[in-house]
């Protein structure tokens, strides 16, 4: 709902406090609004943390790719890195349940990719949605299995993500850094 995001603030001990934002996933401009004098960008980030003192990877596994549209990592020096969760779920294209998932459909499958600006985020999102629409059409038309479609998406994201941090927090794949 809305354009939800998670924001991980680094603590002095190197671990992170993870906060939620209702609208921070809109256009990724939240990264520019977070600063030492305004850590929660006005009201953009809930000042009450969801969890405290966790490793960075916990934000990735906490994220729900069907629901969270951006993730932010705020270093102790307030350098803000932005990541896009990319949802590989296809059940909604196939008229299936979005809760249990259909046979072989992993609702929580997907990748997380680093972006370096709001413009980069917008371009990556548009590209990914077009790629997902294309493979979904192929699955709906019976030309591609769902597993193959998701593998195609993963390959495409990895190729387009060359030079970026890419994480696979939900699928059990190895975490890759290209």
């Amino acid at each position: 709902m809305a354009h939800r995001a998670l924001v991980a603030y680094e603590r002095p001990d190197g671990r992170y406090d993870i906060h939620a934002s209702r609208w921070g996933g809109l256009d990724c401009r939240l990264a520019d609004a977070i600063s030492p004098v305004d850590p929660y960008a006005g009201d953009a980030v809930d000042p009450v943390p969801r969890v405290i003192a966790r490793p960075f990877g916990d934000m990735l596994t906490m994220a729900d790719p069907a629901r969270h549209e951006a993730l932010y990592r705020v270093s102790a020096e307030y350098v803000v890195d932005t990541y896009l969760p990319l949802w590989f779920g296809l059940a909604h294209y196939l008229g299936e349940s979005l809760l249990g998932g259909g046979p072989g459909d992993r609702q929580s499958d997907g990748l997380v990719v680093a972006v370096d600006s709001p413009a980069d985020a917008e371009a990556f999102r548009e590209w990914f949605q077009a790629a997902k629409d294309t493979v979904a059409e192929a699955v709906v038309g019976g030309y591609l299995s769902r597993a193959d479609a998701q593998a195609v998406l993963a390959d495409a994201v990895s190729q387009r993500g060359t030079g970026r941090e890419v994480f696979a927090p939900w699928s059990g794949r190895e975490t890759n850094e290209y």
């Binding site: 809305a2 069907a66 909604h92």
Partner: protein, 241 residues
Amino acid sequence: MTPTESVRSRTNPPIELARSVVETGLASDALVTIFGDCTVDYEGRAESTLGPGDRHVMCKPDGTVLVHTDEGHQPVNWQPPGCTHEVSVEESTLTLRSERSTPAEELLVQFRDVDHVATFDVTDPEELSLSGTEEDLRERVLDEPELIEPGFTPLSTERETPAGAVDIYGEDANGRAVVVELKRRRVGPDAVGQLARYVEALERDLHDDADVRGILVAPSVTDRARTLLAERGLEFVSLEP
């Protein structure tokens, strides 16, 4: 609007008159300024106290409060937009209380002496062309539920479901449960997937034969998203943020 209608001010007003001017200004969404000898106490993420001194206090219609001294461009104390204000007279002191619930914060300005008080009805043509903030979209729907459809009644925000919190949960004119998902940009099929998931989760939450409507609110949707909405019996309302 003529100047006499849009501006009201008093110099060295009796304390009760100052209260009346401020109260009327706050109630009518005017910009309110008070200048005089006051103390300032803030309690919230931290605590601070300013002893007696001359300060200029400005209350904006959006809930912002700024406390200025005669130095610098930054206020010495402030509250962000969204705060609620109350004015009262307590023991011959004009008390302005500004509160915010999340996080819990309170700014208390107490004037022993008011030198000047004024209210201004501000009409800024520039303001009309600006898009609203993120939260404004939800507030607009809550203030004007008929933007969704006639007879829609919001019942709660952030209602939790197994699939996450729902933006707005309500009932239509026939008493059917309605899930409203708010988006501020053009959206594609994944937004339909999100909405479908909330609808399913709520149907499970309520009871087996619950019939929950799902309405996607966004400036626009892609053709593919429109098709998927129709296939799932979900609805779309076009609303610019």
